[in-house]
Subunit: 373 residues, 2 copies
């Protein structure tokens, strides 16, 4: 495990900027990881993903274990080779998507059995199998297997789930130590819903087990931004300052800015890619829906000053036309633009933190974005 | 019209290679023009279209006049600016697609009235309006307005249609001379179905009117390759050797090779793009369907020696996975690969003709491709 390292370069208030080093390359933090669910960041050429500034992408254990299967990916040279992405990849544990996508789930102490949403075939995920799959994929940063409870959930229900995730954390680490390759990393996941004492216990126990990094899970599940920030407010101060902190499944730009302000280093979210496919573009002044009739004659690009071709070389009128005509290029360009916007936002935050002006950055960001950012 | 020029560089039997010069750049012939129906070569970034070796793309008057409309394209700076393609564009006249796509058509001496297949709105295309639209789009090479008869058609039916297209040719040229910009070109279209005397009369009359180039229309409509070649055999020898010859809507690779052998200089076809979206890839050894189960574990790329990333950087197993998972990247990569394959075929033909070894090239091509090429 000698090759995985996190170096904090600067802090500004609770906000941090640093570099995660892995055998496959460096990850500048705060980092946003585009989601490559089924071995592709949807509608993007991998070269373009890299050109937006992404240092790492995320792959989904649940999707890949079902199709094309982890064993097949391994046989084809691993996920990096399979999807033509030679930089770091983080994989989730499959736990979250088993809960949200599969059918006929059965949860036991041992793990989860479920039916594939694709073909109805039966599968099992346990901490051991999740880690085995992540190793077969060749994942650089792996996640412990955890249970993702719904929101809202009773205090008692949340506690039981959190304790189960802790027991699975122990088994995940054991499996990781047996199977992972040198330089791979394993992150623990803090659970406990919106309950401060539970988050605290989850974190304390995970710190005792010891991980390369710590994720905050179970947020962005409907609790709202204010409640999410409240959980971060009482969780982040107790996290290991020497390890990366990853807020899973978050979020829109204002979520990222607010979470970075509270000390988070890593994010993933389908927002820029999914919304890009549906015609939503993020801009400096907030999100717009390019299908709106007001863009039909708008000859300005999404961002004339951007270095991204999708942002600067096509008019809003053209993008509007592409979506109306149902052309592939519409989702392709808007996804590219949104990913570039997200990576630029991360780069801007890294600079602001390094230069000790993050408070001013947040203020200017909020003023420019308006309410929907 | 001083800036449009065709320079024949070499001939080898009936096959020719040369360069068409336009104010927006040169077109190396024999040339294949990717089809950008609605202002986009489907599933392709324009930069990648260019990188495949395409010197020119085709736009469809019928689609663009309906959406976003020619007047809107003009107001947005013309089709080149609209679709971010600064090299030559050829537009068809709309005649063919009115016949194949629109509803409630009514054909008169003056032109065609029809209902849009998109929203049912009523429109009229005449020789004058077709040229006006092509000028509004900013097309570099425009097509005369013609009638495209079905196949098969009676000798008398074909003759009437061909004569109407000749009268429309005169009106198209008149309109072009009034409206086109310096350096623009207008091509006449030889009609007459499979009837030698009609093709001959159509060509002779067009030569009298005088055009910058001559197209062979009304082929690739179901007559089969043998019959198509028979028509070219009795048509091409009478065409003006000093002007480019364009075979419209053709074709698969063996069609291109056979037509170049008969003296054709330019082609367009949806085959590489459409079939790429549906999982068909052209290779040196003929077409394959990447969705076929035999590719599920095939770690070889479509063409390891290709300079095109889509051809060389992804395994067939990955492409198979992308199509099975319904991912955008599948059509994106296969379209890119197919366009590159087509452009490489054109480049290889140009070299073979220039070096006087086209016969051998054809023989080797046919041996490698097998029956389906």
């Amino acid at each position: 495990m000698s090759d995985f390292r996190f170096d904090l370069k600067a802090t500004d208030g609770a906000a941090r900027t640093g570099v995660i080093s892995t055998p496959r390359g460096e990850i500048r933090t705060p980092a946003f990881m585009p989601v490559g669910t089924a071995g592709t960041v949807k509608a993007m050429h991998p070269q373009h993903v890299r050109e937006t500034g992404a240092d790492i992408v995320l792959g989904n254990t649940y999707h890949l274990m079902l199709r094309p299967t982890a064993e097949r990916v391994r046989q084809l040279g691993g996920l990096h080779n399979f999807m033509n992405w030679d930089r770091p990849i983080l994989t989730d544990s499959g736990g979250f998507q088993v809960m949200s996508l599969s059918k006929l789930r059965k949860l036991t102490e041992n793990g989860v059995t479920f039916q594939s949403h694709i073909d109805g075939s039966r599968h099992e995920l346990t901490p051991e199998r999740s880690i085995e799959i992540q190793c077969l994929l060749g994942s650089d940063i792996q996640m412990q297997f955890d249970e993702c409870p719904p929101f809202p959930i009773s205090e008692e229900g949340s506690r039981e789930s959190m304790e189960l995730s802790l027991r699975w954390a122990v088994r995940s680490k054991q499996a990781f130590e047996e199977k992972a390759s040198p330089g791979n990393a394993l992150f623990g996941i803090v659970q406990g819903s919106v309950f401060e004492d539970q988050r605290r216990r989850s974190l304390d126990e995970l710190l005792k087990i010891g991980f390369h990094g710590y994720s905050v899970g179970g947020l962005a599940v409907g609790e709202g931004q204010e409640e999410m920030f409240r959980v971060l407010d009482f969780t982040c101060p107790h996290m290991d300052t020497a390890k990366p902190r990853y807020l899973m499944g978050v979020g829109k730009p204002s979520d990222l800015v607010g979470a970075v302000a509270r000390g988070i280093d890593m994010f993933d979210c389908v927002a820029p890619t999914r919304s890009g496919r549906h015609g939503q573009a993020w801009t400096k002044n907030g999100p717009i829906n390019i299908k709106n009739a007001r863009f039909i004659d708008d000859e300005t690009p999404l961002d004339a000053d951007s270095s991204c071709p999708a942002s600067s070389q096509y008019s809003k009128a053209y993008l509007n036309h592409l979506f109306k005509a149902g052309e592939y290029l519409g989702p392709m360009l808007l996804t590219w633009h949104n990913l570039h916007y997200y990576q630029q936002l991360m780069a801007d935050m890294r600079s602001a933190i390094a230069e000790g002006r993050f408070d001013r950055f947040v203020k200017e960001f909020e003023e420019a974005q308006g309410a929907d950012g």
